[in-house]
Amino acid sequence: MTVLVFSEQVPTGNELLAKAREMAPVLGGQVIALAYPGSPGPEGFYKRGADRVIVPESPHLAGDVPLAENYSAILHQLCEEHKPSVVLVGSTRWGKEVAARLAGLLGCGCALDCTSVSLDAGKTLTVERLVLGGNAMSSEQMAKLPAVLTVPAKVIPCLPEAASPGGQVERKSFELAPPRAASLKVTPREVSGVKLDTAQVVVSMGRGVKAKEDIRIISELARALNGELGCTRPIAADLKWLPKEHWVGLSGTKVKPRVYVAVGISGQIQHIAGMRDSALIVAINKDKDAPIFKAADFGIIGDLYKVVPEIMNQLKTCK
């Protein structure tokens, strides 16, 4: 049976097609890609494994902001028509909204943010997802099909681009109810220049830092180590002392530098899930029982206001 693929991000769409291509022979069906009208070159999906590429058309799809409601409805109609076994959607915030709404319309099984998807010869579909604050991997079997799954970018390697030109993109008109939600405005978010995901050294701060002006102490340490400044959720989301780009954690940025230094961070598991792939982890905290020390290779039990200046002194004498 059919595998239906959709992502508003073309590279993710290509990756999902590789998985769909792998599953299609087992299920004995086609791979249909729903292209997002805003994205360039939908015919490219033919070269990445699609048997059919459909571009949706409707007067209600005009406007800059795509409404999840519309795309769930389009996928729903495609599901009615093609009865797919599996619907694969790219796991962005928007993609998850579309996928989960679709699962509600179909009343079917759904798993979001799958880090692996496998279909065995007996057509048993199994996925894995991080649960319990990133502390455990849950393996889930789809007892009934169809199943709606979302997979984040860069989980599945895409197929090499096929040399054949592929087919013709099908433009298909959809009868959509007038959407009830309306986009009022879209503004670019203020983005600071920090790039945590590629940094070699990240020095992060948590609630152990008592005042906003003390961020300086930590940012100087970051600079001395040629690193970027990171922080925990409370600092970025609750206190808003630093822009979101500095937030390390399960719902912030996941980092894997050579050295991660956690200063005044107790070690909530959502934070640890965002930094545990670092090659070396250093923690400074005054509470000897802070969970961060379990996640650390080296740690100093002490007051950051006394310890960090001493580390700065030591770094000076090193150079």
Partner: protein
């Protein structure tokens, strides 16, 4: 203004330990709590009520033990509380729980606004909100960080990647909220005592008209394994100058300090 908060009672993720032998998370005996973001949803519901009047109700689907925790949301200010439960609750998947919750919300009658946290702390999936919106056939926005309701509808602001989006939705609508939207109130002792006396209505699948076949799980848990972290855990508890010296020496030993980086 009729507002329903959909809340989840989950294990306290922070208190989950790993079995040293099997590396599986030990879930038995872990204390339960109201999922953090659902308290933000309750807070936002109460602020909406303060502005526009009406009633705030809370619905949770969970095991019978969830009942006690539901009282925390009554203490915050929920006027009515509903527990949708089932003897085999732990086997139910999102699809089944979604059907039960949708049926419960329909049974409550006219609803303007359904609020929920962006995700639950145990699953961190964010599936239930939009799934319910689909099942109920109402418009929804997820991950909302600012909500401005008025008599006719609401304005919701959220972040999507590098963009900030603003939507207008008519009622009935479903909105899921992020943690930064507000600071949930802490109930006082009187409110906590008052909540302990309030009734909690219990509904089951048959009360809601959901047939047992509808609850057959589409997704089955096949296994759960803990992610075990192996770290060296070398701790320096000396006075700051000495501890700092030892740390910097250790880092130099790892070859991560080299002066040539600049």
């Amino acid at each position: 203004m009729e507002t329903v908060v959909v809340a989840k009672v989950t294990v306290d993720v922070q208190a989950v330990k790993m079995d040293a032998d099997t590396s599986e998370p030990i879930l038995k005996g872990v204390p339960l709590k109201v999922s953090d973001f659902d308290k933000n949803a309750m807070e936002e519901a109460l602020r909406t009520k303060a502005k526009l009047g009406g009633k705030v109700r809370v619905v949770t689907a969970g095991p019978p033990e969830a009942r006690d925790k539901l009282r925390e949301l009554i203490a915050m200010g929920a006027e009515e509380a509903y527990l949708v439960t089932d003897a085999r609750f732990s086997e139910l998947d999102y699809a089944a729980v979604g059907k039960l919750l949708a049926a419960a919300i329909r049974k409550l009658g006219k609803i303007d606004l359904v609020l929920a946290g962006e995700a639950s702390i145990d699953q961190y999936s964010g599936q239930m909100g939009p799934r319910l919106a689909g099942a109920l056939g109402v418009p929804s926005v997820s991950y909302v960080r600012k909500l401005t309701p008025d008599k006719e509808g609401l304005v919701a602001e959220r972040e999507m990647g590098d963009l900030v989006e603003e939507y207008r939705l008519p009622y009935p609508a479903l909105v899921t909220l992020t943690k930064e939207i507000n600071e949930p109130r802490l109930p006082n002792m009187m409110q906590i005592i008052g909540a302990s006396k309030k009734p909690i209505t219990e509904w089951r699948a048959d009360t809601l008209g959901v047939a047992p076949a509808e609850l057959e799980p589409a997704v089955r848990l096949a296994g759960l394994r803990g992610i075990v972290m192996k770290r060296r855990n070398v701790l320096f508890a000396d006075e700051p100058p000495e501890a700092a010296r030892k740390l910097v020496e250790a880092l130099r030993g790892e070859g991560v300090l080299g002066g040539g980086q600049k």
